[in-house]
Symmetry: C2
Subunit: 319 residues, 2 copies
């Protein structure tokens, strides 16, 4: 239902007050409000936009090296359903003052019916997709790149330069890697080709510690994928770590850095990266934006004894 229709329906349902009796029946909205949240890092304005979520049934393989009972317990401790892992996706639009940079592009509505909300949330935020100057990609898993193209194959952000880690490009675009990859990974390789092949010559690739956009420096955070990259956004002395998939859901993997999610392609290296990054952001009390953190996906990491916990930012109604 559009907002106009909802208002009209609500208005039609209003009745004059008669002492002690109220009988109007306004329709329920039946859907979530737009997932849009803004914050400042120095002079940069960041807009977090949710693309929705996938509720993945928990199976014994989801955490490779922990008993499923322990995973259920961690979900229950966080008041989440013990049999479903809610994997949500939060993309960022960074307005640097000179450029609009979209960091990761969501699922494009191609991975699950409960995801693909990026475009409508971007519209709700008042951002025209044609105004996006750059799509900056953390890694080539489908939930981060599929949304670069609409379902019909056209570019969702037609004026944007697409900027990717060289190490990701080298791995995923390699035909030998694709031919040696297990069956379960073929869809991911195909999505990489769907997205990038038609524009291969225009894709800009950046090296390990480059500054792919003004004030946004790459942090090699390899392991989740061979070239998985986080970013350090700096403006006027303030910093945000764009965490990408250094951890998946914080209730599981910030709480338990030693757990290996099924998505981690090189689990030992991913764990080493995770421990290093957790130590850094906790010690320096840095802002962290995690792609799979609950929307609006921004907060801090606290040390709790020998462990860690994610502390979501307090929603700020006034910028």
């Amino acid at each position: 239902m559009t907002r106009r229709a909802a208002l009209a329906a609500a208005t039609a349902a209003a009745v004059p007050m008669s002492a002690g009796v109220a009988s109007a029946a306004a329709p329920a909205a039946g859907r979530q409000a737009p997932g849009v949240y803004r914050y400042k890092i120095g002079s940069y304005e960041v807009t977090a936009l949710t693309d929705g979520l996938v509720r993945r049934p928990l199976d014994a393989g989801f955490v490779r090296n922990a008993p499923i009972e322990k995973v259920r317990e961690a979900l229950s401790d966080a008041f989440l359903p013990p049999d479903k892992v809610p994997l949500s996706f939060t993309t960022l639009v960074v307005n640097t003052g000179g450029r609009l940079v979209l960091i990761d592009a969501g699922t494009g509505g191609m991975l699950a019916p409960t995801a693909g909300q990026l475009y409508e949330n971007m519209a709700a935020a008042g951002i025209d997709p044609r105004a996006i100057d750059m799509v900056l990609v953390s890694h080539f898993h489908p939930d981060h790149i599929a949304g670069i193209r609409l379902k019909d194959g056209t570019l969702a952000f037609p004026n944007a330069e697409v900027v990717v880690p060289e190490a990701e490009w080298a791995f995923w675009m390699d035909e030998g890697q694709m031919s040696r990859a297990p069956q379960g990974m073929q869809a991911a390789f195909k999505m990489v080709r769907r997205v990038f092949e038609p524009m291969a010559k225009d894709v800009r690739r950046f090296e390990r510690e480059a500054e792919p956009a003004p004030g946004i420096v790459a942090i090699p955070a390899y392991g989740h994928t061979p070239g998985h990259t986080a970013f350090r956004l700096t403006s006027e002395g303030e910093q945000l770590i764009v965490w990408s998939d250094t951890t998946n859901h914080p209730a599981l993997f910030v709480r338990n850095p030693g757990w290996h999610a099924v998505f981690d392609m090189e689990p030992e290296q991913a764990e080493a990266t995770r421990r290093h990054m957790l130590d850094m952001v906790a010690t320096d009390r840095l802002w962290v934006a995690g792609y799979h953190f609950p929307f609006p996906a921004i907060g801090h990491v606290a040390r709790t004894g020998s462990d860690f916990a994610f502390v979501p930012a307090m929603w700020n109604p006034v910028l």
Copy 2:
């Protein structure tokens, strides 16, 4: 800036892609997105709407019975500014299927320039103020009742029955109580009169454990004010505790139930109520909506050893 203007500006700023160069400058939004969040409790749809916040400078009197250093430490542990307490206001609209019930009415823009957003957030949610059937009031502090009237004195929800705890009415409308109250409380007594006197004969007053609206039962939670009331919302076997001001900010008062906020009028009774309510919601793992919790102000209370902690709900992009 309206959404239309923002879209137009963003569109105007879009430039054709030229390899490796992007120079568009879309304007920053400069303000927060609407604070609107929906959830279901059984068949009831709840819409949380923020009214904004007040950033109150921390002084030694804010927590009456704890050293200011301890309060600063608790704020810092929650990654909040150590010298300001962010007091936010989240009202609820409950759609029971038959009625639209607004629980508490915000500040009406009369208490601080950073609050008074309820009306615009209600519009963003597609809810016409004329469709509100009932305003249900937890207690008579100004940040809960001022918004019943607009600045010009007219009713903000002109078709709504106003429903209040009898114990609050008895205390605040009593001229003897007003004449004996200290200077610092006179403004609150005056606000009560501004809001209620012109409609006194139409206000419905309910007793301690009444059911003022269908499926919404009063829980006497006295102490914060003499008649301070929480509510138990039940639908199809699911429950929500509408916490009102049983605690103020959870980083301070869920973590430290023994702390007495300056706002608690009968501190010992407020503490007893707080401990009882915390024990109940933690033991029964109930949903809790707190008026001064960070937006969207919904979650659970976990027991952490002998203490408690608020666990915010994971934002659900798909109802």
